[in-house]
């Protein structure tokens, strides 16, 4: 949705096709620049938490754009700056989401999971521009960004219960740590404990871990 809005608004503000290209490039360039670093974040920070933070930031950004354009203060600079934030959100979300698929489903089913996710992305790519065009034509850019905020809110609402249930006592799986130990024998367990806060809030990291429950865990 935002790519359609970005192109259309950039053209409205500047009248220059070149500046439309610059705006689109600014968002894609964010991926190029920060992608490797956000991948490291996905390895170091609990992935469940990233999958909550990313849509929350996306929703806040869309709400900020809604407010800016609703108040009539929208401009090219603000638009591009906040589109860069959308690029950052995607760069943060993508590695965490794909690695979470692997840790949730394992090597045997990750191909199907990625395939399904790709299908959902393609459907979004078809419906998103249509929704953006309708919003821009009927109600203006603020309405379009408000719909985007709702979509991000839906993503947040979908992830949140999984993260919350993982924090319940008795739902602490240890597979992720075992995997790490297997990959790098030695201090890996201590690193993992330190990185993910073993006492208290490590549950959401474990929420995306694969399946081998600790002895005595009531989970299936």
């Amino acid at each position: 949705m935002d790519l359609v809005a970005l192109g259309w608004l950039a053209l409205q503000f500047t009248g220059s096709p070149f500046m439309v290209g610059v705006a689109a490039f600014a968002r894609a360039a964010t991926l190029m620049v920060v992608g490797p670093f956000t991948g490291i974040v996905a390895d170091r920070v609990p992935r469940g938490r990233i999958l909550l933070v990313a849509p929350a930031v996306g929703m806040a950004t869309a709400l900020a754009l809604t407010a800016i354009f609703w108040s009539g203060r929208g401009g090219y600079g603000a638009l591009v700056a906040l589109e860069i934030v959308f690029g950052l959100v995607w760069a943060l979300d993508f590695p965490a989401r794909r690695t979470a698929l692997y840790t949730l489903l394992g090597a045997g089913r990750v191909g199907q999971a990625v395939s399904l996710e790709t299908v959902s992305m393609q459907i979004a790519k078809m419906l998103g521009p249509l929704a953006a065009g309708l919003c821009l034509a009927q109600a203006g850019p603020a309405a379009g960004f408000a719909v985007m905020a709702l979509v991000y809110g839906g993503g947040l609402a979908a992830y949140e219960p999984a993260s919350r249930s993982a924090r319940r006592p008795g739902h602490r799986h240890v597979a992720f740590r075992r995997d790490q130990q297997a990959d790098r024998p030695g201090a890996r367990l201590a690193d993992s404990d330190r990185a993910h806060g073993a006492a208290g809030d490590g549950g959401d990291e474990l929420a995306w871990s694969r399946s081998r429950p600790r002895a005595g865990c009531p989970c299936p």
């Binding site: 991926l31 991948g39 996905a42 390895d43 760069a91 993508f94 590695p95 692997y102 990750v110 992720f176």
Partner: protein, 89 residues
């Protein structure tokens, strides 16, 4: 019909690029590998720019052919060992 075939191939590629990376790298660097993949996806506008410049200088059909040839030259040497490994018992 050719565009449909290209779309199907592109969808398959979109699925495989992530799956292969996820399966090949160890857990401790899996996020980093996916981050590098997202950075590579972010280079898409550079490719669009390159094919646009090429099409402007030599015409769209030759530019399309050059693009396809370069893709084959890059992908085939990488894909052959993977296929061989998949066939191995």
């Amino acid at each position: 019909m050719l565009l449909v075939a290209i779309g199907v191939a592109e969808s398959a590629f979109a699925t495989m690029q992530s799956t292969l990376v996820l399966l090949e790298v160890p857990e401790r660097v899996r996020g980093g590998a996916m981050g590098i993949l997202s950075a590579c996806i972010g280079t898409q506008p550079l490719g669009t720019l390159a094919i646009g410049l090429l099409a402007a200088s030599i015409g769209a059909p030759p530019a399309f052919a050059v693009n396809a040839l370069v893709s084959l030259l890059v992908i085939v040497p990488l894909a052959v060992p993977l296929v061989g490994r998949a066939k191995a018992p």
